[in-house]
């Protein structure tokens, strides 16, 4: 990534607008008119011949096939047409070069890794990050993008980057990591450092062209020397075409007994790449030369060289065409062009002879041989010393495996970013203008989520057929940042985005909304209020009867509201919800962030409502923050191609649920993990970590859900089958293990146990109607809204009256 100043100079020749971009695409189609013009040119003399013939016949003179006047006229026509053609070519050449040189797709970056003392980060994860960012080990960490391990500490030379807050300069920092934390950090006068954001993808909705622009002054000089030495030694002397070059190339080829040099100049190659299709036709060859000469007429060698380096076709990555050395460097070596070593540069130059023939991944031997030829030519031309030649020609290719790059590794998340951007930017801006999108993706959270889903599904469904699939959404709830999105157990595969598009019944995930609706009416309900877990029958308007069963087909009788949730009782929830009112429950769901229309059927109490995993994350977000609703975002900032800030996607938060009822509901959801249907998660989590959540299972075991949170991570897991058949799974067995593994891998903070103003801890009699005291029979302690604390006491303990927290403390004094 270049600094803005460096890019500014470069853009002199790349300035363009979106209209121009469209025009340029037209030029390619316009170009097909040329052969038609040529045909016309052939026909025209014929027509001009017929007319004089007629005249001559009328005069009775003998017919002559040759006439000077005809030749003259024909020559004139040819000249005019030729001049017109040339003028047309000239316009074509200049338009493309001046107006629009390159399409630059929007690039998406993960959130930059922030380093500071006390940050939870294991050494293993740090090294994983450095590997993903292709930092190389170097004992002195002398250049950006390198690091050294020195005992307990790491010496890092970061790469600089820009951001809406000004970004960071490249700097050397010393970091010590132990006990899963950053213990100390020495940075230039500061206690904070940021690693550059990892590029995770780019967005090119229309044309599958991709490119990383590198201005000429950022291109390693050796690359230019190698390029000129192998491809066009007369580059600085010729005017677009070089007979000398052609002759020399032929000579060299004859000497070597094989093709070592090509005949066409760099300018001709650029013309080929820019304007012409890859067909090898004579007409193309004939056009190449005048266009190359026209190009040389209008532009400097430096401009042509820069264009060549950024335009040249280097291969194919699926549907994506790899254009330019910058992207080539990233595609093959996972690093910026500036950081490549001589043998890497030679591999890139080697590709020019034939991008697929010399593909270093598919034909490593061929590529290596050609690379060494390039190094040899560089040696002969004095661009490389003998020592360097010996050193680098013995190095292996060092190409990174395809797919090892973080680029395109997270298709589900990129899809989310793309959808968000599509709302705000027209497609041509995204495909052409080189926007830099700073996203919220946390690479470590993403990898943890992917691993948790695939580990679990590979255990449960190891068959080749792989019928079970799933989705995971991880959110930092306070700011609404989407940290990770997984929509396939094979997470590298794009396709159906289950996290965003699989709309499934949420089952018991609806229950916290029922509890919240109840405790929001504190005069009627508290978490201690008894609810009957018994048969329910409701006659629906269509005459059918709704009579939900519990998971264990038993009715447990009266139980406190909190237990209905903890043990996910269907009948208890149904009764509570019907008493509270379907409209209230639906209203609560809307308040929490469900935007769909919720039909007022009793079945919504047990989750007949269908939501996507992402929508569930939206619904659970205010529950995780104690009542503050924050829109989920996948983007924080948009910068232009010169890394100047263009737009922010700021955090916004609204208090949608009062502190008291929110705290109670959160506490009830903690009981689910402490002792209820979610308790299996405890084994994967630190003993004292307070988390909350809810299991969900839809009818016939089609969908397994778990949605839960700590103070800093909210994660939603869905597991099921795409064909929506019985998957034989429950929330506890199908989704909870994924959630637990994932949450166990992330740094967590406990949910606050301090009740907000207006909520007290109270020991309650099991009847839910009277205050009791600690140690009294089956008395249990609840967080209670003041409005729902009863006046009556069961008389247990020394204090006879109804009491609040402080009375129990006094009581303790007398015991």
């Amino acid at each position: 990534m270049g600094a803005p100043g460096q890019v500014a100079k470069f853009t002199q020749i790349t300035v363009k607008g979106t209209d121009k971009a469209r025009e340029t695409h037209k030029t390619l189609t316009l170009f097909s008119i040329l052969p038609a013009m040529a045909k016309k040119a052939k026909k025209s003399p014929a027509r001009s011949r017929r007319q004089p013939n007629r005249k001559k016949r009328s005069s009775g003179q003998p017919r002559r096939w040759f006439s000077w006047s005809f030749v003259g006229k024909a020559a004139l026509v040819c000249l005019v047409l030729g001049a017109a053609g040339l003028a047309y070519l000239d316009a074509l050449v200049r338009e493309r070069f001046d107006a629009h040189v390159w399409q630059l797709p929007a690039r998406v970056y993960a959130r930059p890794v922030e380093l500071y003392e006390g940050r939870v980060l294991s050494r293993e994860d740090m090294l994983k990050l450095l590997d993903l960012m292709r930092y190389r080990r170097d004992s002195r960490a002398a250049t950006p993008g390198s690091y050294a391990v020195q005992g307990n500490s790491l010496l890092l030379h970061t790469r600089g980057f820009n951001d809406s807050d000004g970004g960071e300069k490249a700097e050397r920092i010393r970091l010590s990591l132990s006990g899963g934390q950053v213990r100390s950090l020495e940075a230039g006068g500061d206690r904070l450092a940021r690693l550059e954001p990892l590029q995770i993808g780019s967005i090119h909705p229309q044309h599958a062209e991709d490119r990383v622009l590198v201005p000429l002054d950022k291109v390693p000089p050796l690359l230019v020397e190698m390029l000129i030495a192998t491809e066009d030694q007369a580059f600085y002397d010729h005017h677009g075409i070089s007979l000398r070059g052609l002759a020399r190339a032929m000579l060299a080829n004859v000497k070597a007994g094989r093709l070592v040099q090509g005949g066409s100049t760099l300018t001709q190659q650029l013309v080929k790449n820019f304007w012409l299709t890859s067909e090898r036709t004579l007409s193309r060859k004939l056009l190449e030369m005048p266009m190359a000469m026209l190009l040389e007429l209008h532009y400097s060698k430096e401009q042509i060289l820069e264009a060549y380096l950024n335009e040249v076709y280097l291969g194919q990555d699926g549907a994506r065409a790899i254009h330019g050395m910058g992207l080539g460097a990233q595609f093959l070596f996972g690093r910026p062009l500036e950081e490549l070593e001589p043998h890497h540069l030679a591999t890139l130059v080697a590709l020019l002879k034939g991008p697929s023939w010399y593909d270093p991944r598919r034909h490593p031997e061929r590529s290596l041989e050609r690379r060494n030829t390039v190094l040899k030519v560089a040696l002969n031309e004095g661009a490389l010393s003998k020592a360097d030649y010996d050193k680098y020609s013995n190095r292996s290719l060092e190409v990174v495996p395809r797919g090892a790059s973080a680029l395109y590794a997270f298709p589900a998340f990129i899809d989310l970013v793309r959808r968000q951007l599509a709302r705000d930017y027209p497609p041509e801006v995204l495909s052409d203008e080189g926007l830099r999108i700073h996203s919220t993706l946390d690479v470590l959270a993403q990898l943890a989520a992917e691993g948790a889903l695939s580990d679990h599904l590979d255990r449960r469904d190891p068959d080749e057929s792989k019928k079970l699939n799933g989705a995971v959404v991880v959110v930092a709830p306070a700011q609404g940042d989407v940290l990770a999105l997984v929509s396939n157990r094979s997470s590298r595969e794009a396709g159906f985005n289950r996290a965003l598009d699989a709309q499934r019944p949420i089952g018991s995930l609806a229950k916290p909304a029922v509890v919240l609706s109840a405790v929001s009416q504190p005069k009627q309900w508290s978490l201690a209020t008894l609810v009957e877990d018994g048969p329910v029958e409701v006659t629906l308007p269509n005459g059918t009867t709704w009579s939900p069963q519990n998971f264990d087909n038993q009715s447990r009788g009266a139980m406190p509201v909190v237990d209905v949730l903890t043990y996910s009782r269907n009948q208890g929830t149904a009764r509570l919800g019907l008493d509270v009112g379907l409209d209230k429950v639906a209203g609560t769901m809307n308040t929490l962030g469900v935007t769909r229309n919720i039909p007022l059927y009793p079945s919504i109490l047990l989750g007949s409502l269908e939501l996507t995993p992402f929508e569930v994350a939206m619904m659970y977000q205010p529950l995780s923050t104690g009542g503050f609703s924050t829109r989920l975002r996948s983007i924080t900032d948009v910068l232009d191609k010169e890394a100047k800030p263009l737009a922010r996607y700021p955090v916004n938060t609204d208090e949608v649920v009062d502190a008291g009822p929110a705290f109670l509901t959160q506490w009830a959801m903690q009981q689910v993990v402490e002792k209820g249907t979610g308790r299996a998660a405890r084994a994967s989590l630190p003993q004292d970590l307070k988390v909350a959540g809810k299991t969900g299972t839809s009818n016939d075991f089609r969908d397994a859900w778990f949605a839960g949170f700590s103070a800093n991570h909210l994660a939603v897991v869905w597991v099921g089958r795409d064909d929506n058949r019985n998957a034989g799974i429950t929330g506890s067995s199908g989704a909870l293990p994924v959630w637990a593994q994932l949450m166990g891998k992330l740094p967590q903070r406990s949910l606050s146990q301090t009740p907000p103003a207006g909520v007290d801890w109270v020991w309650m009699n099991p009847d839910g109607k009277r205050v009791s005291a600690e140690g009294c029979g089956d008395a249990r302690r609840y967080p209670m809204l003041e409005a729902s604390i009863p006046q009556d006491s069961d008389g247990c303990g020394s204090v006879k009256e109804a009491g609040k927290g402080i009375k129990g403390w006094f009581k303790g004094l007398f015991d």
Partner: protein
């Protein structure tokens, strides 16, 4: 039987309670709340001062980004939310300001002056959204916090 220790405890407590019964507790003029009370030793403090600088230079986007980063480091800081609220208010986004001010209140320490200031912020934000009664409510909360005697029991 009451131990001597318990007896002393009880005596002390009854003395304190007796004091309460006579008149409202005399509130020490509290130290004004500062960012460092919450963020002492945290790298978030550095980001906060950078945010303040950026804001003074009119770079509100940069200021906001700094504050968001600071919150990632110190997520329970009421002060950082208060700063965000102030920033939003100055940017002409009273709705955003209200949300952040309420969040700041949720996280605020027991510091009456500080909390009163946050309610003032809420009141201003509500006023600017045309929510007169909401603004009035917020103002009366601020007043009650500044004047403990007038506080409803």
């Amino acid at each position: 039987m009451l131990s001597v220790q318990r007896l002393v405890q009880l005596m002390l407590i009854s003395m304190v309670l007796a004091g309460c019964a006579v008149r409202a507790p005399v509130e020490e003029p509290a130290e004004p709340m500062t960012a460092s009370q919450e963020l002492e030793g945290s790298p978030a403090l550095g980001l906060l001062s950078r945010a303040e600088q950026a804001r003074q230079q009119g770079q509100t986007s940069a200021a906001e980004r700094y504050l968001e980063r600071a919150l990632n480091i110190a997520p329970d800081s009421s002060w950082l939310y208060k700063e965000l609220a102030g920033l939003r208010l100055s940017e002409g986004d009273p709705r955003g300001a209200e949300g952040f001010a309420l969040k700041a209140l949720r996280l605020a320490p027991e510091h009456d002056d500080y909390r009163a200031g946050l309610w003032d912020l809420v009141a201003t934000a509500r006023d600017r959204q045309g929510d007169k009664s909401g603004a009035r409510q917020a103002r009366s909360k601020a007043t009650a916090l500044r004047n403990p005697k007038a506080r409803p029991v």
